[in-house]
Symmetry: C2
Subunit: 407 residues, 2 copies
Amino acid sequence: MDVVHQDLLLLVLVILAARFGGEIATRVGAPAVMGELVAGVVLGPSLLGLVAPVELIRVLAEIGVVFLLFRAGLETDGHRLLAAGPKAIVVALGGFFGPLVLGYLLCRWAFALPPLGALICAGALTATSVAISVRLLGDLGLIETDAGQIVLGAAVLDDLIGVIALAVLVQMSGGAELSLPGAAKIILFVLVFALLAPIGAQWLMRLVAGLETRSETPGVIPTMVVALVLFFAWAAELFGVPHILGGFAAGLALSRRSYVSQLFPNPVNGPFARRVQQETRPLIQLFSPIFFVLVGLSLDLQAVAWGSGFIWVFSLSLGAVAVLGKFVGAVLLRAPWPQRVLIGMAMVPRAEVALIFAQMGQSAGLLDPPVYAGLIMVIAYTTLLSPFWVRRFRDLCRRTGRAHHLA
Amino acid sequence: MDVVHQDLLLLVLVILAARFGGEIATRVGAPAVMGELVAGVVLGPSLLGLVAPVELIRVLAEIGVVFLLFRAGLETDGHRLLAAGPKAIVVALGGFFGPLVLGYLLCRWAFALPPLGALICAGALTATSVAISVRLLGDLGLIETDAGQIVLGAAVLDDLIGVIALAVLVQMSGGAELSLPGAAKIILFVLVFALLAPIGAQWLMRLVAGLETRSETPGVIPTMVVALVLFFAWAAELFGVPHILGGFAAGLALSRRSYVSQLFPNPVNGPFARRVQQETRPLIQLFSPIFFVLVGLSLDLQAVAWGSGFIWVFSLSLGAVAVLGKFVGAVLLRAPWPQRVLIGMAMVPRAEVALIFAQMGQSAGLLDPPVYAGLIMVIAYTTLLSPFWVRRFRDLCRRTGRAHHLA
């Protein structure tokens, strides 16, 4: 009882700090996620040492990250992907392989990281943050432009490929050897799960929708959807796939515009899907910040040798690769140069999925404290840089009469 | 990671079983709470032995019961209390002291329970379940009658007194001796907390409402209200009062019709209070069934000697006291006899607060397994009996031409 009691206070502290950090971050123009991360750094061993990542916090953060991926699946928009078409695919593939290859080579050869550690660092750079890109382009009034639509399509695709890459990596990190047939088998498994799980989840969701209309006891949606999401998270690990992919699959199943609803013409109906979105929102809003605070809590900035130079050289060179890598796809496009540059810039922000990569790599023991700290710094650079320079670039184009290239 | 993983499956099982039990219960005309309790009995050591009350389940149940009391506070309706007036107060006081005194005497003298155990058993019988009474009277079309209004007012008051009595009992169970000055000090403390905490909570809630209008980051209400409720739960224990009273106080603070909003003319505005109710509902619906499943999980019906006779004599005689005790107030009223009988009958159902009493007594080691099982059986009797006999009585009055006495 007394342990529970003290853990409740820690939970209150975490929730309040996340909110406070998020509020301050948005005031200064940064994404709320960065503020939540910093809140964790402040509460954790880096600064105050007030909050230890106790079991309760870790489980709730775990549930939070599964919910987060559930929402990402829920918001995956197949129509937008199709509409943005081949150009988005070029940008997405470039934006995936660019940072992956460049990041891996840099980590392996310049910093002599072990293969899996290098893959985690490189993989973390592959997923553009859809949430931040949408916010960014929306704030600058660029979302309806061709460039905006290409960025959104590519960001969604990169998130999708990123989650699958993460699934593959986490699986590989469990095995002993890094063999090509082993990796191929894992990729196959993950792809099969990613394709089949949403179909199974959609089928179950129809049962829930049926129950909801007939039930006289309120609360069908929050209880049954949470049970479904957590069940898929559990089932994913049973199939040898990380649990976040289970949450993602459950989200795709409910998304009104994912490939699942393309394949099956009469899915769970619209009003029900909207109610699911509405009634699970408070749960997602409550749990997911806990995950980002945990990322900050598991950072120990005091353990980093700030004077040695490694942390600076590592984070700045990896940061440069993270930025350059995202331009690979944009440069390959056939488009006016200002448009290519804008697309490259808008693809740079990393956040949620990258932090999940980092956190999983750290908790699997694949990232040393300075590498982990450096990777988080890279994620922070890319997230904080983008709003700033995209705005500058748009204003430059307007002043020099090239604004029509962005339309 | 692996422990977390298996606990998630237990959590899914608990959520699904609670829903399944609740659905079946409402189909056969019983309250959902009874179905959730039975679900816990089935999953627990009594029957299948599938789910152990692991740390995660216990913490979430703890949060669930705090949320439950938060909602009870939120729904406390001061206007209704005032409107029902002195008659409701007579019924409430009779319905509190009747079962308390009769139950205590029975447990002490007929069954030789220790003083605190007897007080827990008797205390559990004091709180009429507002939720079940409202549902019952609503279903039978009696809610707008004089009798209905008196029952509702008295039930709210009994819940309030019950929670405070529970607070006092839990505090006393921590102390070494059962002395009158000690008990008086505890009662004073609890009353001061019950009066002052809602005022503090309301003040904090105004800050939250202010933040909500200015924030650009979504999710203010779910995060801040949960933080506030859990903080008050923690603060309650700090002041030597059980944590559920903290949740109740936070709820009273937000109730648009509690004494707090009577005292302070311009509280948190109406639309905000409505949104709080709306956005916390999924959280309450998700967490609170976990508590009732836990009550079932902590019952071990296999440990009860069913052949010894004690369990039957104890539960049936205590059940009789539970019913009779609730008639004390009704009989004292100046009203036509059919109305007195109806009021007495409608005051009988116990559920949430009674189960909280039982669970707290059990986890504090104050109730032996057979006494705990017997007490749960009494709660089940009173809950299952009421819908049945109130309907019979109404029909009898109609057939014998006495229906006007009920109007």
